[in-house]
């Protein structure tokens, strides 16, 4: 069989065409293979990047978590570990966090004028920004309270400072009450904070400590914010409940607010309990209302119970009209602090350097006797110091928890048989330097008085 030339040509062309197609396919395949390899490599790289990124994100998340945990610990450290002991009140507090870091804070400070300052505040927002402002505000409040016993003045000062520091939209609400422990009078100011409630044990009634006052720390308030002082006379056994609005803003499952009225009712129902039990019951009441609905905000409850200081005053040698200042002392390490408080008053009233030095010896002798001999150096026992310094006289008395001593039969340290003894000069020195020294019948209270310019 023979092929004609044309057909042969056609076959040739087809074979060339097929070969050409094969080559193209092969080239395409090679290109695809190359591309696939590249893609695979790229995928590998991307996958590696994603793994690295996930790891980095995990680390960042863990670092943030650690930082929040540290912030939480720092913030917890800002809350007072132990509330200071005061002559006429007991206090207890509960803080319920909603997240890791909140903006609530409370504090009880004995002021240099021996008043008892009770502070509660709530910074807007949560997290680290709120915690930073909380820390800053605590320091500013402590400094301002050191300088003034007027809550309104303290708020003005803290507002002025915070307005310059806070560059965000945050602010805080606060309530500050300053209690005079002798008069049981509380001067307070409210800076937009929820009003505390006072439970009267005699009548089982609750009154609200309402008053006007701006928020603190928002830059818009720098020149317009104003704060006012109000007074409330407290009675023995009164309980004052300070709180933050996270408590009343707790919601039930169907979105209803716990609210101030429910809190007030719960306070009336439980107000007769001991303050620790009372706070537990108030938290329980709110929790049973929420029925597991998560908290939207952290909250704080601080309860202060006023106690009767009249019995102390009766035995102090002072009268209520004298309006003496009161200090508590439980160890010799506190002597110098007490001394500087009282001697500062003598200095202000113009007593000379010599009298001040003599008075210092008397303060040391009175307190040393009370702590070492009256209280047997037992730190759980207190000595109560009353003092009143006027331009006419400087008086102080110290009552200890001991059984007293026979102050009428003290040996004379000047007699030859007593000269070498290492004790028995304290009362002798006080009798020399004071113009009057009086003991109570039991002998566990001494009162000394020095007249300006002599008796």
């Amino acid at each position: 069989m023979t092929l004609n030339k044309d057909r042969l040509q056609t076959y040739k062309q087809r074979i060339y065409s097929l070969l050409s197609s094969c080559k193209r396919y092969r080239d395409n395949y090679t290109a695809l293979l190359e591309k696939s390899k590249k893609t695979e490599k790229l995928l590998e790289e991307r996958s590696r990047s994603v793994t690295e990124l996930t790891y980095k994100l995990g680390r960042i998340h863990s670092e943030l978590d650690d930082e929040m945990e540290t912030a939480k610990r720092i913030q917890e450290g800002l809350m007072p570990k132990e509330l200071p002991e005061a002559v006429n009140l007991r206090a207890t507090a509960i803080y319920i966090p909603a997240g890791k870091v909140g903006g609530d804070l409370y504090d009880i400070i004995i002021t240099p004028r021996q008043k008892i300052a009770i502070l509660i505040f709530d910074v807007s927002g949560h997290g680290i920004p709120a915690a930073l402002i909380t820390a800053m505000a605590k320091m500013l409040f402590a400094n301002a309270i050191e300088k003034s016993d007027s809550p309104a003045e303290v708020f003005r000062e803290v507002n002025k400072q915070l307005c310059n520091f806070i560059k965000t939209e945050q602010y805080l609400t606060a309530f500050l009450g300053v209690i005079d422990p002798v008069k049981n009078m509380m001067t307070y100011s409210r800076a937009g904070h929820v009003p505390p409630l006072v439970f009267n044990t005699q009548t089982s009634s609750v009154t609200k400590l309402d008053s006007k006052g701006f928020f603190i720390g928002h830059s818009a308030l720098l020149n317009i914010a104003e704060y006012w002082n109000n007074d409330v006379q407290l009675a023995p056994d009164d309980k004052i409940l300070f709180y933050t609005d996270g408590l009343t803003e707790g919601c039930s499952e169907d979105g209803k607010l716990y609210g101030a009225e429910r809190l007030r009712d719960a306070f009336i129902r439980n107000g007769s309990n001991d303050i620790k039990i009372l706070l537990d019951k108030l938290v329980e009441d709110q929790e049973s209302f929420r029925q597991g609905t998560p908290l939207r905000d952290d909250f704080t409850l601080l309860c202060v119970e006023i106690q009767d200081s009249t019995y102390l005053l009766t035995d102090s040698g002072f009268t209520r009209e004298d309006e003496p200042n009161i200090l508590l002392v439980s160890s010799l390490s506190e002597i110098e602090k007490i001394c500087s408080i009282i001697l500062r008053e003598l200095d202000k009233c113009g007593y000379g350097d010599k009298t001040i030095k003599q008075y210092k010896i008397c303060i040391f002798e009175m307190i040393t006797n009370a702590i070492l001999h009256g209280n047997n150096n037992d730190p759980s026992k207190k000595a109560v110091v009353f003092y009143k310094v006027t331009p006419i006289s400087a008086s102080m008395s110290v009552i200890d928890e001991g059984d007293g001593f026979d102050y009428n039969n003290l040996p004379d340290p000047l007699s030859p048989e007593n000269r070498m003894k290492d004790h028995g000069r304290g009362v002798f020195l006080m009798r020399h330097y004071f113009d009057e020294v009086l003991f109570n019948t039991k002998g566990n209270r001494i009162l000394g008085r020095k007249y300006h310019g002599g008796k």
Binding site: K360, I361, E365, L414, M420, K421, L429, H432
Partner: protein, 113 residues
Amino acid sequence: MEISCSTSENTGYIALIGQLWQKDDLVAVDDAVEKYLKQKITNIVLDIDRLSFINSAGLGLLARTHSKITEQNGKLILFNPHSSVLEVMVISGFDLFMTIVKTQDELNAALNK
């Protein structure tokens, strides 16, 4: 309170700087005196020029120290007390039985130099 000790010509010098009332300080002074007495140094000068405050516990220590040194036929000299410290010592009758000197010459005389 700070305390510094030195010895010269068989006399112990103890300088007290600050306030003498705290238990630890009283013990430190007592220990310093005891150390000299163990070395048979029984003439002791308490340099109280910079002692700014003393209470009855501090006075009690001085009285006991005086008694201890006297028993060993030694001498305790209180040198240059601050006026307020001297006042308390005089009120307590220390000037009646203790040697209190104000100047270096008086001190030398008291030490029989």
